[in-house]
Symmetry: C2
Amino acid sequence: MESTFGIIAEPNRRAILSLLASSEQSVSEIEHRLRMPQPSVSKHLRVLREAGFVEARVDAQRRVYRIRPDPLREVDAWLAPFRRFWSTHVDALERHLDRMDQAPPRKGTKRKKGKKR
Amino acid sequence: MESTFGIIAEPNRRAILSLLASSEQSVSEIEHRLRMPQPSVSKHLRVLREAGFVEARVDAQRRVYRIRPDPLREVDAWLAPFRRFWSTHVDALERHLDRMDQAPPRKGTKRKKGKKR
DNA sequence: CAGGTATATACTTGTGTGCGTATATACCTG
DNA sequence: CAGGTATATACGCACACAAGTATATACCTG
């Protein structure tokens, strides 16, 4: 029932995703960092997992969760037609990226610049 | 209570936004094209308007609605940290957008954080 | 002004869903 | 095996909200 957008409508789930964006985390780590009750964390993680936003790796009794990008990519794709409203010359770049999306994955070039905000 | 994300969680509202992405439309045009009851359209438009997603231009008895990009931009910004999961050299795009963020007049609210109540 | 069109609002109802509390399951260590 | 830790699930409740129906407001045309 819950669509991709419905799922990220929940603030706590967005918080979990944002936390996982930096690095994978176990349930208790999430629980502690976001200061939210453990059943709540587990339940949100279940929703996120079943919708494909995250996946779990088992490490002894811990489950370490990490991002799976596909659903967020869908959001990104939905957003595409609106980008022209705030970006004038990104259009070309966008088409460029579109073409790149189906290009074979190439590894090696990531985050070479420390330009974070 | 309705956040930016909560608002686009509604499929009909997304449909309205997508329709408006192509060009501005009157209420009855939306009603007809999306085949949804008029009160529903008006109500969704109200929500979208109050949240800043759209604005209305008055033309006689008609109200012609058009996109206002700011809230969607916020979504786009939230998405930014995740892009590295599916794009290798989109970093260029990111820097590009970063630069762009401070280029236009004003509107510097990035980094929208909110997890407490 | 009447009649018609276009849009907005009021009110009710049903359903979904997040939360809290309690408990169950799984695994590790001694 | 016992005891502890880590995570998942069950259940009840309260509340937000989308949809439907009916009605109100605004404006245009004759």
